[in-house]
Amino acid sequence: MKKGSRFTPYLYILPALLVVICFRTVPILASFTASFSDYDIGGFHGFTGFENYQRMFTDARFWNSVTNTVFFVLGVVPAGIVIPLFLAMLLRGELKGKTVYRTIYFLPVVTSAVAVSVVWTWLFKPEAGPINGVITALGGDPLMWLREPRGIFEMMLAPTGLKPRGVLAGPSLALVSLMIVSVWKSVGYNTVLFLAGLENIPNTYYEAARLDGAGKWGTFRHVTWPLLSPTTFYVLIMSTIASFQTFALVYVMTPPPGGGPLGTTNVIVFYLFQKAFDRFDIGYASAISVFLFFVLLILTIIQRRVGEKRVHYS
């Protein structure tokens, strides 16, 4: 029986460890370091303290990207919970064709974001696109979709003569178009998660509710919703984190330069990407990425804390 040297375990870990250290740990630490320095196409020019951060906090385009990202998250996440939850409720239990439905809803999840974006760009085309085709056939006015910089609240209130400005104008229709695609792409994934969550609820609870004479809505409110809360909370946090990182949809559907009409689809990761690879301003881009990191870290911590306390576990 070979005993193996005491170094053997390390040999097993070594390949993975090398990759993780070289291509994760080192770049992550470098990102923090670079955020405190002047690093551009010419290389490293010394440490500059908090200069990149000061610049970030006074950079209107950066705050614009934060606002757009928050709009995006606030639009995509609730829709990405309500629609999948509804679908999962329909699919729950024994239903003919369940697998077929699930497969169809799941298709966009495994489809590449680039291909999805190419197809939706065509669907949204203002001149010849099928969506406007349907709208005009129904007697409506065609919309500019991905090329519309006006905020949706501004557009809705236009007939009343009110003209909300700034944040009050809401996300541009271009950004809302991106939200629609994002929701469409992730509906199937969240549905599958909710379905798994629903099927984990023991049937005894439903029987008890039925014996108590609870109606449909009562059962949902007092049994399904509270018992499903771990899943709901998980979906909430994971889709928030994913939405904060949206890139491919924005890049392909509202291509650079700019980030959509009048910069209205310029989201954080898109802005970071432009700073890093169009301007090669690595120092500044790193400051933005550190900001992004802390936002996502805080969300993860909230998930842990609130997840333990508020969420109802059976």
């Binding site: 029986m1 375990p9 090398l18 990759v19 679908l87 239903l95 439905y101 760009t121 065509w122 994934y189």
Partner: protein, 256 residues
């Protein structure tokens, strides 16, 4: 009860139509005017053959790399006892919390220092270890009974022999999950190859398609034909493995 089932199906079919609509439009537009010639034309207008080949090479080697590094590391994390194990495991897990965009720029600088920008190395090597895959496999290895290990060792099985002949064959389902996740992730990855390659010979499918989209922005038939053949391999894979895949996704609650 009957009426309720009908209503359910009605709603689900309406939803399915909305979900399918972009795919249906994609395919029907791709055959407009030129028919199948649109596919030939799109395929030849830019070197899609090269893009496909690159994607297959990158996906294939990445997944092989992930399977090797994950099996070895997961095995050492699950069954062996040695100083620094838990610390290293924590180090691995901590990198999972940091999303890719955060370290993208320094990674590029690192790759250019290594002289790897615009090479297969840059596309493959950084992704040959996947912490989530290591984690999944470690959890599974931990469920294998210790007596199994002891019996195998008594029969003269080496440490590696146990991994290769006993542990891995008992982990087929997890291996399949890891393979599927990494095939999909690698095939669909866009931001990384967009950043680390410049020349056309190294373009992968997603990057090639995005450039094609910019160049041919009004040539819908060709664009839809290119989109169709770009998504086809994964859609076929998905239809065959859909049960395993959906189960994996819902069990592990993990997307990319």
């Amino acid at each position: 009860m009957r009426a309720q089932t009908v209503l359910k199906h009605f709603l689900l079919i309406a939803g399915s139509l909305i979900m399918m609509m972009p795919f249906l439009w994609m395919v029907s537009t791709s055959f407009q005017q030129g028919g199948f010639d649109n596919y030939v034309e799109a395929w030849n207008r830019v070197p899609f053959q090269t893009y496909f080949l690159n994607t297959i090479i990158v996906t294939g080697l990445t997944v092989i790399g992930v399977l090797i590094t994950s099996s070895l590391a997961a095995y050492a994390f699950a069954t062996m006892d040695y100083p620094g194990r838990d610390m290293m495991f924590l180090l691995f897990l901590s990198t999972m919390m940091v999303p890719q965009p955060v370290y993208l720029a320094p990674s590029y600088v690192l790759l250019s220092k290594l002289g790897w920008v615009d090479t297969y190395m840059a596309l493959i090597v950084p992704w040959t270890a996947n912490v989530f895959s290591i984690f999944l496999l470690r959890q599974h290895f931990k469920t294998l009974p210790k007596s199994l290990y002891e019996a195998a060792r008594l029969d003269g099985c080496s440490r590696f022999g146990y991994l290769w002949r006993v542990a891995l064959p008992l982990s087929r389902s997890v291996i399949a999950t890891i393979t599927l996740f990494n095939v999909i992730g690698s095939w669909n990855s866009f931001m990384w190859p967009l950043v680390v390659t410049h020349s056309e010979e190294l373009r992968v499918l997603q990057v090639g398609l995005s450039y094609f989209n910019q160049e041919q922005s009004s040539n819908y038939q060709l664009l839809m034909a290119a989109s169709t053949f770009s998504v086809l391999p994964l859609l076929i894979l998905f239809l065959f493995a859909q049960k395993q895949l959906v189960a994996s996704y819902s069990r592990s609650g993990m997307k990319d």
